[in-house]
Symmetry: none
């Protein structure tokens, strides 16, 4: 793992630039025995050229056999041990929609749900109501006020929203209210630590107020709250690595994780790879480290659509020349985890890794970017959190350790 | 990492012998895309035969992306975690020229510098004065005496020297006096801990005396002191591993690191590989573990002279039969770090590793000793500090753990 004290001691300033291009859920497996993976199937002449010039490997986002969520997957790539730095789901969701969570605040993820006349849950997602239908209901919830605290309620997507409670003496050591099954009533919030009694009491008051206000809004006539969490107080990327970091991402969640480590998020006009690369070019002079996030590889993997995931990879490959025109000293292409279309979900499989750094590379003998080649690559299989020191070294941003 | 308590528990006596042949800065990178490295370019029939019979891998001296100095690079190869055992610069320099640093002593590295009439530094290295020009100035400094302590001042090379202060109640928790830029005056020594007040006071007295004695010796008319450090109190190699260790090395620095872990240093007549191997043969019966150090691979790498580094590797290869005639049970050939001629400096790239142990080896499929082959080798990529337990095992010097 990146040892932050060591990093702070060894990092030096430089004009070099590092691009971390993350194809979300990049890694795959064959649909049939002996077949190619999504990446191996793709027409990817640019990636293959970079693979031949660079060196390959695989990353383990969290550890052997561990399937990461998006938060841990990205924290690892930013050099933070995901087992040490735990971002609560509420905070992640809040940051994802641009709602800040301060040092004294508690964020929770909310779901609209359906309850019957006796208060038992009949649908934990309120029929997956549309985002537009949820909006006025979120407005109703935003009207709830409680003594001594400020409340902010914002829609996320479909049946999901975020509540942030701000005030003195709060603690996020709280139990969740979703019973995780239908036929049961929403649970009360319980303090898991005596110092959280106040927050538990307030959230329970808020839930009763919500029940009243939504009573006639079937199917979204109640809510559950999960992932109570506070500011994880992550050490800031810029402090550790002495680079000005920028995030070029379309989706709120990834912008949120980037903001959590102190990256500046850049707005992207459009959502194609070429739009992101154009945005990257527009801020090239202002930053040293660029996290560029491509979402649809993961989405198509989760759809189980092998061919569509292949097409996303091909679209990134086709746009790569405009990124290479910027002449980064170091380009890393990898994923935050694997999302094999065959499994329709995130997985634990190691993630393909390509490191390209024309001035300093020790090449291996691999000539194409794919899972089998990466398993044989010169970088070996490394923890994702060990990737950033390697990138820094290739960018001339780490001085010698010891005499 | 080698767990020393585990090692002490598991090591057993044996008549087997282990040779650790370190080609300093062995690892390289191609000068041009797709080209060979220095090692891959060399005519190395003996190393290739050993590679075919043995197994390959790569070592990480300190960690991913970390470029090690010579101290950490060698400590790792001796099984000591270089991040845990930190040898101060002063101590390393002192040991390097054969000056011992006892448990109560403080060593500092000194630089001659140039100051102007108002005391501001105009050249931090005094025009890099020649070793011969520095010698009489070091003699002047050696004439300084202070109450209650002994002082030893010795030249190192060019503008560098070493001061060792010996006496009761000293602590090396001291700040450096080099302001790290020109246009500033040398800083006073400050105690970083109350127990270091006495040492700070004495070193400041010494610096004022030095200023007086050197006043007319422009450009070397002042000194700065860095790397104040005491005996790092490393656990002794022989205690941990139950082997009598010998160091066959020509250069003072490496003899110093070896002495720090308790190795016996053997004087070498000559500085060619065959001279070192002849020395090795002469003490073969008296020791169990032999650290043999070849310096010029690193020197030629730092010169940026690819071809000269290749020639050094070839000279080692040519001399290998005389080493093999001694019939060691285990031979390891590796480096303490990489020094690619292309980069003209130490680097973070993993280091090629060859393990040869005819009675116990599990061979891989590699047939030559080179960076690309090592990246595919059967040992994988390991921390340098994990190497020694592997060598011990192959030498029949580690018993079973657990029933």
């Amino acid at each position: 793992m990146a040892d932050f004290r060591l990093m702070q001691e060894l990092t030096i300033d430089s004009s070099s630039k590092i691009v971390l291009l993350v194809l979300d859920g990049l890694g795959g497996i064959p649909m049939a025995p002996g077949g190619p993976t999504e990446l191996e199937s793709a027409q990817r002449p640019n990636m293959n050229r970079l693979a031949a010039e660079g060196t390959l490997g695989q990353t383990l986002p969290v550890g052997h056999g561990i399937t990461p969520g998006s938060g841990p997957g990205h924290l690892g790539l930013f050099g933070y041990d995901p087992l040490q730095y735990d971002i609560g789901r509420g905070v992640l969701e809040a940051f994802g929609i641009g709602v800040d969570v301060g040092p004294e605040d508690i964020a929770a993820r909310g779901n609209f749900c359906t309850i019957d006349a006796s208060g038992l849950i009949t649908d934990r997602r309120a029929g997956r109501i549309a985002t537009e239908a949820a909006r006025p209901l979120v407005d109703k919830l935003a009207g709830i006020s409680l003594p001594g605290v400020e409340l902010e309620v914002k829609p996320v997507k479909e049946y999901r929203f975020v509540v942030v409670m701000r005030g003195p003496g709060l603690s996020a050591e709280l139990s969740e209210t979703d019973p995780q099954r239908t036929g049961a009533a929403p649970l009360p919030v319980k303090a898991l630590d005596p110092k959280a009694e106040k927050a538990a009491h307030l959230f329970n008051q808020w839930l009763e107020a919500a029940r009243g206000r939504l009573a006639k809004d079937h199917p979204a006539n109640m809510v559950t709250l999960r992932g109570f969490s506070g500011d994880p107080r992550l050490p800031k990327f810029e402090t550790i690595y002495k680079m000005r970091p920028a995030c070029v991402a379309v989706y709120p969640m990834y912008r949120g994780v980037a903001r959590l480590v102190g990256m500046k998020t850049i707005d992207v006009a459009g959502d194609r790879p070429e739009d992101e690369f154009r945005t990257l070019a527009s801020v090239w002079k202002d930053f040293d480290f660029f996290f560029v996030h491509i979402k649809p590889t993961d989405s198509r993997g989760e759809d189980g659509n092998f061919e569509a995931k292949v097409k996303v990879i091909e679209s990134v490959d086709a746009a790569l020349p405009s990124l290479l025109d910027l002449r980064p000293e170091v380009l890393v292409i990898t994923g935050d985890h694997s999302t094999p279309a065959r499994l329709r979900s995130h997985s634990w499989h190691p993630v393909p890794l390509l490191l390209w750094a024309p001035q300093t590379i020790r090449p291996d003998e691999e000539r194409s970017f794919g899972e089998r080649a990466c398993a044989r690559g010169g970088l070996g299989t490394i923890r994702a959190a060990d990737l950033l020191p390697i990138a820094l070294a290739h960018a001339g941003r780490l001085t010698k350790y010891g005499a």
